[in-house]
């Protein structure tokens, strides 16, 4: 991590080669996702495990896009703030609504 942030700091921008590598990683992860999806049409592993793996893989993907393509990694802290705080709110929104809509008891007060 430290090694990279060196590279991204100040105005030293990463090389094109680096972007190609990131894109390669993204391609591989996407392939893994799709592979997992197709293979598990046969229900080889439990659904929850598949979902967890998929979420992890796409988090990696998203993080790579944000950190390297959008250069959030190593960029000014304020950008992290204005992006990550709403991201946290957004996640809260999603999770809390899933809880709220999971079952209705129907007793008021």
């Amino acid at each position: 991590m430290a090694g990279h942030s060196e590279e991204h700091s100040a105005h030293a921008h990463p090389s094109d080669r680096f972007y190609w590598i990131v894109a390669g990683v993204l391609a591989v992860v996407t392939a893994l996702e799709i592979g997992l999806f197709i293979v598990n049409e046969q229900h080889l592993i439990a659904k929850w495990l598949e979902v967890t793996l998929l979420l992890i893989l796409s988090t990696i993907k998203g993080a790579a896009v944000v950190m390297f393509f959008m250069h959030l990694k190593g960029d000014a802290g304020i950008f992290k703030f204005v992006f990550l705080v709403p991201l946290a709110f957004a996640t809260t929104l999603l999770l809390s609504f899933m809880v709220l809509f999971s079952d209705h008891v129907g007793i008021a007060g």
């Binding site: 304020i78 709403p86 709110f89 709220l100 008891v105 129907g106 007793i107 008021a108 007060g109």
Partner: protein
Amino acid sequence: MAIAERTAGTVSIPVVNVRPGWAGWLSTTDHKRIGIMYLVSAFVFFLIGGIEALLMRIQLGVPDNTFLTPDVYNQLFTMHGTTMIFLGLMPLNVGLGNYLVPLMIGARDMAFPRLNALSIWLFIFGGLMLYVSFFVGGAPNVGWFAYAPLTQKQYSPTAGVDYWIIGIGLTGVASIAGALNFIVTILNMRAPGMTLNRMPLFVWMQLVVAFILIFAFPVLTVATIQLLFDRHFGTRFFLPNLGGDVVLWQHLFWFFGHPEVYILILPTMGIISEVLPTFSRKPIFGYAFVAYSGVAIGFLGFLVWAHHMFAVGLGPLANAFFGAASFLVAVPTGVKIFNWLATMWQGSLNLTTAMHYAIGFISMFIIGGISGVTLASPPINVQQTDSYYVVAHMHYVLFGGAIQGIFAGIFYWFPKMTGRMLDERLGKWQFWLMLISFNLTFFPMHLSGNAGMPRRIYTYEADMGWNLWNLISTTGSLLLAVAFLLFLWNVVTSIRRGPIAPADPWDGATLEWAVSSPPPVYNFAVTPRVRSRRPLWDQKYPHLREINSGHGMSGAHNESEKRDGFEHETSPAMEPIHLPSPTYAPLIVSVGIMILGFGIIYLSDFGLIAASAMIVGLLIMAFGILSWVRISHVDSPHHAH
């Protein structure tokens, strides 16, 4: 004291290319003019909302009244609520912010002056669109939170709801654009030395509010888009018989709606935090606590939305959670209240009209806050929700709180904005009349609410025991109108004949008082360098300067820095003053968007005509954007003129 004069010899004063007369206003990108346009248009909308309220109050003055038909009454309360919130209070706050934030942080303008102009136009057109609905088949009549499925075509066949959606949509885009502008301006355009820790509290609160806005508003936008699709394009988000979920609308609306009420109150809490110290001749007590409690309120505001839904049947667990979270808001709010009291404590209170209103804010807001706490208790809430008790609560916080806070701000900053003083004596008459009639109007609503009077009823039976309360309310509201007329009179006469305002009429402490009244277009001839929270104050009273200002900041002040609250850049002659040129582009873009909006409303009913309107709108928009891009390039600081 005015820097502009003192240093004018050493800087290049820009030739400002302001168009004369109306054209100047239509093409302006000056944050001060835009601020005034916000204030004036919002105040006009406010008066219209007030007249709607008066009509409702007349209808409710006596039981079984037939002054209004139910449908008209329903349109009136919907438009009253929508107007007051979206077209009155919010833009009044935005207007003050627009005018003052750049001045207070020592900037020449907002970060994006043209975007700022777009915001004001979208706001005005959004408001006008809402009001067009009255003339084309009926205004929205579903209440300001527009619960599904009443809003569906089946139950609300007129275009009123569509106008509501589009009108709110336009003002919503305006608000989001405005919030982006505030965030960037406040974070990035502060004068040298103006650390976050030295920012005036009004600016702090505007910053918090801008963040709340950009987090909360998109949720409303999505909900209204979904409703629009339900009404016109065959979706079923909120159609229960097809599997849609009407409770989802409520969650989405209030996920926005509760943060919204803090959007309304926090800027005025910022005003109070400016007015009280000035007229107490003391610094704000517990600056950091007042600032961070605002952040805490803003944050907690996102965790309490379902306290508007206790009667929905979410289950005891959910209700308990949202109730507890709501109680928690009382703590940071209390912190603010007590710090304000401590600011006044042992001060030298100059009881100007602005100070009257600031004190009025505290005394009335806590009544609303306390009724909020009873409402936040789920069991109590199910007795009080949907009753006039809620109407009482909201008006104590909205009127007793926010509107009185705005008046504090207007009386405080009017001299700065117009160069004239308002009449203080008239102002105090207005204050007392307003305070009394406000309580006459809204206090009885606690009682009628707890005596079983539901809200949003156009008539009631004579034997319910509510007659006296309603009569008092109606009387009070008529007196309120007199108070507003006093204010209008005061403004009109003072602008013409009021005493000329000096740069610093109140012995203020913050940067806006360092420039002339009204300030020059470029605000500061030379960008000030800030050394403390009270830059101007420290300059006027060097012996009282805050040695350790910015608490916890390193004491790296050298001798010359200690001498002055703020200084000017050491090389004044160097910096050319750069101001954005006037342009019609934002106006054109918003006209295009408005026409597009009309097209959307009628798309499913008048396909061809509406579609052509949409295309026309898009073309106008495209034209506006093109000239926008051109002017912003020509105008860019790097571009040789």
